[in-house]
């Protein structure tokens, strides 16, 4: 087995993809729903965010996708639940650095915990969109703009 492949699909990642955490939907007052679309592969993810006084009170996601997009979404929801909006926005930027291998902010990466395991994605450039799909939806949800985002629209 190829080392980069083992690195990409570490057991924690496969575990999250098989048993995604915070899988589901949120509806009602204060909930924002953003649909994330990766037209290059057809994967779709829905992110549901409940903000309360500038904090993420709850977050869920559902949809189908590859192991990378599912694990990334699952770990993301665990990490940002309870965080302030600004912290979550910052985490999305730091995470982008981890999976693209560009503009890395090593000092801040510790905050992201096991999400650092997705570092292997940078060796598979065509998979960056998979890792970023839920985060792109999160970024839009944090701006309280319901709707659809596509990985084709910005430079991920």
């Amino acid at each position: 087995m190829n080392d980069e492949l083992r690195d990409l699909y570490q057991s924690v990642i496969l575990d999250h993809s098989r048993k995604p955490r915070n899988f589901g939907e949120l509806h009602g007052d204060g909930c924002v729903h953003v649909h994330g679309d990766n037209p290059s592969c057809g994967d779709e993810i829905d992110v549901y965010l409940k903000l309360n006084a500038g904090k993420i009170e709850d977050i869920k996601f559902n949809g189908q996708g590859c192991a990378i997009s599912q694990a990334s979404a699952s770990m993301m929801t665990q990490k940002i639940k309870g965080k302030a909006r600004e912290e979550a926005t910052k985490m999305a930027t730091v995470f982008r650095g981890i999976v693209t291998g560009k503009d890395r902010q090593l000092a801040e990466e510790e905050e992201l915990g096991e999400l650092i395991l997705l570092e292997g994605v940078q060796h598979f450039p065509q998979r960056v969109k998979c890792a970023m799909l839920s985060w792109r939806a999160l970024e839009q949800a944090l701006n309280e703009k319901a709707g659809t985002v596509s990985t084709e629209e910005l430079g991920d």
Binding site: L5, C41, D43, F124
Partner: protein, 405 residues
């Protein structure tokens, strides 16, 4: 019977390792590899004959023009058309756009129906969406059954006198289905419709005779049949071509240009504005010579043999869902493996030297119909072997163990 081993050696690219494993190239429905004969012809052209066509009065221009027009005759013979009916294009997509924008805009009006099918590639959907918006014509689609074939009862009821154009794929790139083209074309003609046949996956894989099929338009892409990318051809029945206005303006396609108006050439030249892909067109002729030296009947038989072997071996894999017809099919198998998303599977396969395609194959509406975001696809050509398919089976088994819970 052709010597398939010797033929495989004509393809230098196949003799390499990828990620430490011998390359298994199973993405032929996306693009085929090129034999040395085609590569050599391309180099020869640029080392000896390169010049612009149709306008020079010097030796090189004459050679380039002769070779370009000779290639047009070869493509025409390959399809049993005449050279006056063959237009060079960038590929099948451009051919369809040309028909939509030239014939379609001139002939379609509100109340008319453009009939397509649910198994069309985006290239045979989007150009018609554009021309429908421009002309007010309506789009309808022949449904696909769960087995992956066209619903012929539904086709019969959709065929009304309002149908002015029926455009459909000869061999489906995402299901492998070989459509009964001759029968469908005859039925569409019976209600007065013109018919476009998308030959992207058929031209290099089986004998194609446009007179026998009786289609009005046929498009092909050179790069899927051993020629370079950027060249293709469009056949238009002569009597239809006469009524088609230009779609792109520029040099080469004009008779006389004034500041405010121009007159246009007849025949294929009318649709070849600007300097064409001269080298591409010439070596498309070389690719055709190469395919004909093997024989398209032999290629089709070999395709069928590989497809049946793949189907039989893949059916052994637990948790696999295979799309498309089980019997006669083109040289490809699309599938979904339980627990292994196509993207993950493609990444896994790549690390073993196996080039698969994972995605929607430019047939998003069809994927939605089958309720999958994407599939994996192994597509073969005559240089592939059963041994490669057997190695793919081992890789798929390993992937299943790796990803399945």
């Amino acid at each position: 019977m052709p010597d398939w081993t010797a033929i495989r050696h004509d393809f230098p690219i196949l003799n390499q390792e990828v990620q430490g494993h011998p390359l298994i190239y199973f993405d032929n429905a996306a693009t085929s590899q090129k034999p040395r004969q085609v590569i050599d012809a391309l180099v020869h052209y640029y080392e000896h004959d390169n010049a612009n066509v149709h306008r020079g009065l010097h030796e090189l221009s004459n050679r380039a023009t002769d070779a370009y027009e000779e290639s047009r005759r070869k493509v025409a013979r390959f399809l049993n058309a005449t050279e006056e009916e063959m237009i060079f294009t960038r590929g099948a997509t451009e051919g369809i756009n040309l028909v939509a924008q030239s014939w379609g805009r001139a002939n379609l009006k509100p109340g008319d129906v453009i009939l397509l099918t649910e198994m069309e590639h985006h290239s045979n959907l989007v150009p018609w969406q554009l021309v429908a918006a421009q002309t007010g014509a309506e789009l309808k689609h022949v449904p696909v059954t769960d087995e992956g074939i066209l619903d012929l009862d539904a086709f019969n009821s959709l065929l009304t006198e309002q149908v002015k154009l029926f455009a459909f794929v000869h061999v489906s790139n995402s299901l492998g289905t070989i459509n009964p083209a001759q029968q469908l074309i005859a039925q569409a003609h019976a209600v007065g419709a013109k018919v476009l046949l998308d030959g992207a996956q058929s031209a290099g894989h089986m004998p194609v005779d446009v007179k026998d099929l009786d289609c009005d338009f046929y498009v092909l892409s050179g790069h899927k049949m051993c020629a370079p990318t950027g060249i293709g051809a469009l056949y238009v029945r002569g009597s239809v071509l006469a009524d088609m206005p230009p779609w792109q303006g520029g040099g080469e396609m004009i008779v006389r240009v004034q500041f405010s108006s121009s007159t246009f050439k007849e025949g294929p030249a009318r649709f070849e504005a600007g300097t064409p892909d001269i080298s591409g067109a010439i070596v498309l002729g070389t690719a055709i010579d190469y395919l004909e030296s093997i024989g398209r009947e032999a290629i089709a038989a070999h395709d069928a043999d590989l497809a049946q072997h793949a189907l039989a071996r893949m059916s052994e894999i637990e948790g696999i869902r295979i799309f498309g017809p089980k019997t006669e099919r083109g040289a490809l198998v699309a599938f979904a493996l339980e627990g292994a998303h196509p993207h993950d599977l493609t990444t896994f396969a790549n690390t073993q030297g196996l080039a698969l395609r994972g995605g929607h194959h430019c047939t998003q509406p069809l994927m939605r119909k089958f309720k999958v975001p994407s599939t994996s696809r192994a597509s073969f050509y005559f240089y592939n072997t059963k041994d490669e398919i057997d190695r793919m089976i081992d890789i798929l088994q390993d992937a299943r163990k790796f990803f399945a819970p």
